[in-house]
């Protein structure tokens, strides 16, 4: 009896090592289910801004 209890406790202990995070993400093949990447500005606006930056900084003098 004692052995059983010890082994259950031991097994629980070992298995607890496999535990990583309480928040569980439900996976679906090929579907990203993480946090949504909300961007501070619309893509078009950013595109224009980045183009301007590129022309300012990466051109050959």
């Amino acid at each position: 009896m004692m052995k059983k209890i010890i082994s259950i406790v031991f097994a629980t202990f070992i298995l607890s090592a496999c535990y990583e995070d309480t928040s569980v993400t439900l996976h679906e093949p090929g579907v990203y289910k993480g946090k949504r990447d909300t961007q501070t500005m619309p893509a078009e606006e950013r595109e224009a801004l980045l183009k301007q930056r590129f022309n300012q900084v990466q051109t050959d003098r």
């Binding site: 090592a17 900084v57 050959d60 003098r61």
Partner: protein, 921 residues
């Protein structure tokens, strides 16, 4: 150990980081300049709550357009300073103890005063630094003068002193003649003894720009470097055979009539002697001595002739030789032959090493000159005494009153004799006092911003450090000086602030003077260098003299006042127009400067060159724009034009030394003329152009000593250069070798050439010390030590490497000190790539390093970077650093193996040719 995967960055770590935080405090931008090399790249720092939290590219900056190399892109690490020396420390019975600044200054000062009493002021060596800004460098030289010694020097001695001497004696000023940006206009870029891709990476932006605009790149180097990889033509040369190679090129030029006859006739003196010497260097002889095939030499010569204007770039590969001064002059002559001087895209572009080594040189942190290359003559002292507004006799009384040398048959005070050089300070300690031409040996050494591992003869340096009575290290880091010796007592470490923790001006390699803003307050207990200088001055009792016209706030001399003071005295090399106000205005208007011509187009600085590159003549009110390209006669002096300097008289042996038929645009004297004096103004009838105050000051003075600037103003008003209009000298008659001639290195493997091309005779007194040449070369080491050893830089590290090896972002990239060795040599010695080897030198030094088997070096040549330190002959010195200050990466210093050898004019150390052997460890 946890098996659980943890997030890369946990919260506790994040809190300790000095990183951007989005929700606290306003972010301000500060503009500074990278402290790692001489290009002078602009740095934009983002500061929040006094913490340097971000680094942005400085796109407006004309030099780098936001670019950086590995070092520049990592300067924000200075804001962490994890491995910095945090407070003053003192070694007592082998243990480092924390002490206060007051205690440190008191104890050091008392000991120095005692040494001064017993051994004279020359027994304390004040070793300064190219890491000072201009104001600190100037104040440091002034401080040493007030202490009463010329035993003051800095790294320029061991990097470009031969350039300064050789180039200045050829045409007037010892500096880069054009600019990095001007290389855009070069049609041929001839790089010899330089590896800018690793030592000055941002300069490659300009070089490659020139290349893409049709310029040809020729690289001459013993090593296939990263620069060589971008060359159109790479030529491998035997180390130490530069003069024969250059003469070989010129041989082809003379042979084919490729020289610029008109330019030589108008603007060059002594070319006939050069012709005679060059005639000896037939293609066969060149190949025998240099190992370069005729076709390569011919091709290089032809390319330079066909692609004009061409520029010549050199660095330590040329300067660090016993014949360094001759090397630099030979290259000047190459440009004179081609007529490539004074034109955009031409010139000698000498890339300097430290961010402010040009400035520190200009401000005379050298044992042979006062600020502004005035020298050590009585006139020079009197000039500076007037600028400083102190009694000349008081300064003279500070010096040792006895005489140890004779000049023209009469004894001279140490005040007027060259001090010991930094390259030889160890001999100043170890040499028999009988042989030293000063009162006593060196007893106290102040290493102020200097890495000892950048200097040769490591074991002897260790002995010298141990023999000293007192060793003082002033630096942001403990440096190798703190650990390489076995001293148990009387070592002091004083924490200096970096240039990011203070502000002021600096001079980049192209002579541009830039202003830095302060990014953050000094970290920990560190102090800016000028504060420390002031503290010592207070201790020695001349603080009031030192800062007579400089405001002092809380022990900090006001930087702007120092700038204004040197503006009043630096006439000789044109540091008089760069006032703090003008420099700050430029800093605020970086975007208005053209990125190739460096000239402001519109805006408040309209017409000025970026950084007011010296010479920036006259007073600031004259609004001289600075001189972008030296010796350019196509524009008026008032707009930055200049002829060659009349520095060496007007005639010699019946030959005219002044220019003939050549003058700067708009010059009213349409021929050569000597330097301007008050008498000359009177002769020319221009005296009355001076104002009454100017007349009073200028009477009896010359363009260098007239503190009113009137003589310069009037000369320039008439389109003339204040320093005259002369020829460049192809022969420098007062040097040991007036015509540069080849001399084999002291440690040469080519014994067959020694008889024909011997080195100099030993000298009894050279910068106060006996110096050996022939006695070393007489011995044959080449059997036992068959490999030629040379050294150089890595892109990740700088100088002695202490600050860069303490920067984890850089240190991670180069974790092992290594030696490059050709596969053939490695196989012969049983050496495998990545294994440890012992490198042993003929003077007994040995280092244990990692082998890098690579075709970068050819058979018979090995290469080591010189940035490592913290190991000594196989032993890791980690435990000898004060706690928490050991750099992330430590390794052997190659200079433990490097040997004796000093340039015949400047005592530059020889680090580019020596001998060694390598065996598996």
């Amino acid at each position: 150990m946890s098996l659980l995967p943890t997030a890369m960055i946990n919260k506790a770590d994040a809190a300790q980081r000095r990183q951007h935080s989005y929700d606290e405090g306003e972010i301000t931008k500060k503009r500074s300049v990278c402290t790692h090399c001489s290009v002078g790249c602009g740095v934009v720092a983002e500061v929040q709550n006094g913490v340097w939290i971000g680094q942005e590219p400085s796109f407006d900056h004309p030099f780098n357009l936001g670019s950086h190399c590995a070092k520049g892109a990592s300067v924000r690490e200075h804001g962490h300073g994890d491995k910095r020396l945090k407070y003053p420390m003192k070694k007592v019975a082998g243990e480092w103890q924390r002490i206060s600044w007051d205690q440190a200054i008191d104890e050091i000062g008392d000991q120095m005063l005692a040494i001064r009493e017993s051994a004279g002021p020359d027994s304390v060596y004040w070793l300064g630094s190219a890491k000072f800004n201009n104001e600190q460098a100037y104040l440091f030289r002034k401080f040493a003068a007030f202490w009463g010694s010329n035993n003051v020097d800095h790294q320029a001695r061991i990097c470009h002193s031969t350039t300064v001497a050789g180039v200045a004696n050829t045409w007037g000023f010892g500096a880069m003649t054009n600019s990095y940006n001007d290389i855009h206009n070069s049609k041929c870029i001839f790089i010899i003894g330089a590896n800018p891709a690793e030592a000055h990476p941002v300069s490659l932006q300009h070089i490659l720009r020139g290349k893409e605009r049709g310029g040809k790149v020729i690289v001459v180097d013993p090593r296939f470097s990263r620069t060589a990889a971008h060359a159109d033509h790479y030529i491998r040369i035997r180390p130490g055979a530069d003069i024969p190679f250059v003469w070989g090129m010129i041989w082809h030029m003379f042979q084919n009539g490729w020289e610029d006859e008109q330019f030589i006739n108008q603007r060059v003196y002594g070319m006939d002697e050069i012709r005679a010497e060059v005639a000896k260097w037939t293609p066969d002889e060149v190949e025998r001595v240099t190992g370069v095939k005729e076709a390569d030499v011919f091709q290089a010569a032809k390319t330079m002739y066909e692609h004009k204007p061409g520029t010549v770039v050199w660095c330590m590969g040329i300067t660090q030789h016993t014949v360094g001064n001759s090397n630099t002059r030979a290259l000047c002559i190459l440009q004179l032959v081609l007529g490539n001087m004074g034109v955009s895209g031409g010139g000698t572009n000498i890339f300097r090493g430290h961010d402010n080594v040009q400035g520190a040189t200009d401000f005379g942190v050298t044992s042979n000159s006062l600020p502004g290359y005035y020298g050590l003559s009585q006139d020079a002292w009197e000039h500076w005494a007037r600028v400083w507004d102190v009694d000349y006799n008081w300064i003279a009384s500070q010096f040792d009153q006895a005489s140890y040398e004779e000049l023209n048959g009469s004894p001279v005070s140490p005040m007027f004799t060259n001090g010991i050089t930094v390259s030889r300070w160890i001999d100043g300690v170890l040499e028999d006092p009988e042989n030293i031409t000063q009162k006593d040996i060196l007893r106290a050494m102040v290493l102020w911003g200097h890495a000892p591992n950048s200097q040769t003869r490591g074991p002897e340096m260790k002995a010298a450090m141990e023999k000293l009575d007192l060793l003082v290290i002033v630096d942001p880091f403990p440096t190798v000086s703190a650990v390489m010796n076995d001293r148990q007592d009387n070592v002091y470490l004083l924490p200096a602030a970096t240039q990011f923790e203070t502000y002021g001006s600096l001079t980049s390699s192209n002579r541009s003077v830039q202003w830095r803003e302060q990014i953050m307050a000094p970290l920990f207990e560190s102090l800016p260098d000028h504060n420390i200088i002031y503290r010592f001055a207070e201790k020695f009792g001349f603080a009031d003299q030192l800062c007579k016209h400089i405001a002092v706030n809380d022990g900090e001399p006001l930087i702007e006042d120092i700038t204004r003071e040197y503006n009043r005295g630096m006439w000789a090399c044109g540091y008089t127009g760069q006032t703090p106000e003008r420099l700050k205005l430029q800093l605020a208007n970086l975007h208005t400067f053209n990125k190739t011509t460096l000239k402001a187009e519109g805006g408040p600085c309209d017409g000025e060159f970026y950084g007011l590159p010296w010479p920036c003549w006259g007073t600031a009110e004259m609004k001289h724009p600075g001189t972008h390209i030296l010796y350019d006669t196509s524009i008026p002096v008032a707009e930055g034009g200049s002829p060659f300097r009349a520095r060496f008289g007007v005639e010699r042996e019946g030959q005219n030394l002044l220019a003939e038929g050549s003058w700067t645009a708009g010059s009213e004297i349409e021929d050569g003329y000597p330097e301007f004096t008050s008498d000359m103004l009177k002769e020319l009838g221009w005296w009355n152009d001076l104002t009454a105050e100017e007349k009073a000051e200028a009477e009896g003075k010359n363009w260098k000593t007239d503190l009113s600037g009137g003589i310069q103003r009037v000369a320039i008003k008439h389109g003339c250069a204040p320093y005259g209009n002369a020829k460049a000298r192809a022969i420098v008659w007062q040097f040991p070798d007036p015509v540069p001639i080849h001399r084999e290195p002291l440690y040469t493997p080519r014994r067959d050439l020694v008889a024909e091309y011997p080195t100099y005779e030993d000298r009894r007194n050279f910068y106060r010390l006996p110096t050996r040449y022939g006695s070393i070369q007489a011995q044959d080491f080449s059997q036992e030590f068959p490999l030629i050893m040379t050294s150089g830089r890595l892109v990740e590290y700088e100088g002695g490497g202490e600050e860069t090896r303490s920067n984890p972002w850089l240190a991670e990239l180069q974790q092992d000190m290594f030696i490059e060795i050709n596969p053939a040599d490695a196989n012969n010695a049983g050496i495998r790539d990545g294994r440890q080897v012992w490198v042993e030198g003929p003077e007994g030094g040995a280092v244990k390093v990692m082998a890098m088997v690579t075709p970068r070096v050819e058979r018979g040549v090995v290469f080591m970077p010189f940035h490592f330190g913290g190991h000594y002959q196989g032993e890791d010195l980690k435990d000898k650093y004060p706690e928490g200050t050991a750099p992330y990466v430590r390794g052997e210093s190659c200079n433990v193996v490097f040997t004796y050898g000093y340039d015949s004019v400047t005592a530059m150390q020889e680090t580019k040719v020596s001998l060694c052997r390598v065996r598996p460890a």
